[in-house]
Symmetry: C2
Subunit: 394 residues, 2 copies
Amino acid sequence: MANDNRFSLVTTCSGHSSARAGELATAHGKVPTPVFLPVGSQATVRTLTPQDLRDIGIAMLLANSYHLYLRPGIPEVEKMGGLHRFMAWDGAILTDSGGYQIFSLSPLSKVTDEGVAFRSHIDGSQHFITPETAIQFQEALGADIIMVLDECPPGDASFGRVRRAMNRTHLWAARCQQAHQRTDQALYAIVQGGTSLELRRRSAEHLTSLGFAGYAIGGLSLGEPKEVTWGVVEETVPLLPGDRPRYLMGVGSPEDIIEAVSRGVDVFDSALPTRVARNGALFTRRGRVNIENSRYLRMEGPVDSDCGCYTCRTFSAAYLHHLFNSGELLALRLATIHNLTFMADLMRDIRVAILGGTFDSFKNDFLKTYQPTDEKVRLEQKQRWLTRGRQADC
Amino acid sequence: MANDNRFSLVTTCSGHSSARAGELATAHGKVPTPVFLPVGSQATVRTLTPQDLRDIGIAMLLANSYHLYLRPGIPEVEKMGGLHRFMAWDGAILTDSGGYQIFSLSPLSKVTDEGVAFRSHIDGSQHFITPETAIQFQEALGADIIMVLDECPPGDASFGRVRRAMNRTHLWAARCQQAHQRTDQALYAIVQGGTSLELRRRSAEHLTSLGFAGYAIGGLSLGEPKEVTWGVVEETVPLLPGDRPRYLMGVGSPEDIIEAVSRGVDVFDSALPTRVARNGALFTRRGRVNIENSRYLRMEGPVDSDCGCYTCRTFSAAYLHHLFNSGELLALRLATIHNLTFMADLMRDIRVAILGGTFDSFKNDFLKTYQPTDEKVRLEQKQRWLTRGRQADC
């Protein structure tokens, strides 16, 4: 691993939690951790320009090599000078390898030890990706952090299938490591093993024995109950090396991030804040509010009086309500700016609390005030999203 | 008319045209003319923030009292401090009275001398608007320039119907004038008379005898051939007082604006540049291009190398092609920024040419290079737009 992609651990909480503050040094700037990465699958964080992202305070975003491989094509992005130049973003980028997307989006996929054959969810065309090509594609895109190709079985897969997928993920991780040549990119492994603590332990131990620049925990947030998620995280994190970043893939609600940070996770990504923004659900420190509710029709103040984002600085809740109610496109952008600012502010506050030794009380205060979305509603929404219409977001 | 809404004529062409440069002084800034107003019917120019509009160089925009009356409601905007504060736009605003929208959007409308009864195109609710309430609403919204309530018959109406509508528009114009109280707003009359030069003459003469701060030409661009449009404009403009602004409603293609400027028109509005932008049609000095065309897949340069807008400064044509091709929302905003910048630059160049005494050659050069959209395609698209789906834009 080259020096320009180094993780520095700044401090670990001395209280009841394992929360830690650190910094990722990349060729595209320093990224303080814990960090939340907005999702820009198709080389754009939906509705926002790079300037918007900078103004919000985003240091790193996630893009998706599966989406970019299918459209516009890896050679096309490479010809434009790579992903940073293509999307005019000079901050840091992490690309996912496509494993999760192939298994969740493709109508037909067939996996062997060699690689995975799948059909495009866009036009049905046939494709075959191996660990080697997954790395080759990500090297061509040129993100600062890239991910191994993994096999991610569905949340309800049998123990046998989960174990086979884990073993294949281990095999592929070694081949990805072998194939990886660019020294200015950090390669992260992905711990699999479903909801089995035994498999998770084996996966963490195996992958750390190979030695990666960072470790992700994959295969969670797939509809399982929250206590199962935290059980897996608590089992896995202590087995990962303390001097490497830990990345919990696909987790992005404010309350979940706080819970995961307290268990020692450093990096997060999720389409949740941007997706719910486009449905009119705006984050506040008291929980999500629905801006389409008629109580906002005449509200002169901003949606969130604690927020300093462009949307809250500039517009009344009544105006935002009007835009949503009238089906105006500006609504989507203003809501996205707000929710991503909320996330960026939250991560900054979390880090300040960790550095100041007050994370335990910060976490308690936050969770006392923040009303999470009803668990039943959350699981229903998640299930709906997992079974249809998620092409747009994952 | 108060001093803060004064039109100053700066110069009139000495060449073959009647083109003129002027300035509208409003309580929300000076507006150099000729000027093109982007359409923000629902208190938003679709996809753009006020900051975007400022960056583009927009000095005045058009909003629609019909749309705002129905949603969120005039009292709601008034409670928020008026339209400027509601939409956080401190530049100048012109509001249309709603006449055109009632007759074109409402599924059922019934007009008498008293006023017009109509059903909302949104929820079918019943409404009744009179010249007096049209003014009252526009005074509550607080735009810098407001319009009389007019009756705008369809393009294929009989001579008798057009004449009756014209006479009623005259009656209503006098009542609007009577009802108008705010001295910081300029009230413009609307010349009607369809395609009849005789009726247009009578309308222009009658309305100028009443004395308004400005004069619009309404009831054009309704599907009639271009030579008919120009015939009416050429007949009407010389009958309007030289020291008052002339506003050609609903005209907004680059070539039409140049033709109208050369006939002495000062003010334009149209949803065309923003609407076609959202369909991937981008203006260049050579004509409209379709960014979805596959020849842009690998184009490294900007869409328009002559353009200095944020989109062209920041992104390749290939990236814009990718965004449109992938159905990404950012595409709509970037294309809108480009097309409105094209319009703002065009109006600035027109004005510079008028002031420099070179408008005739500017016009010739522009029209020689600019490939207008095929007339047959244009009329078909216009007809499609007039018969469906225009709620969004007019």
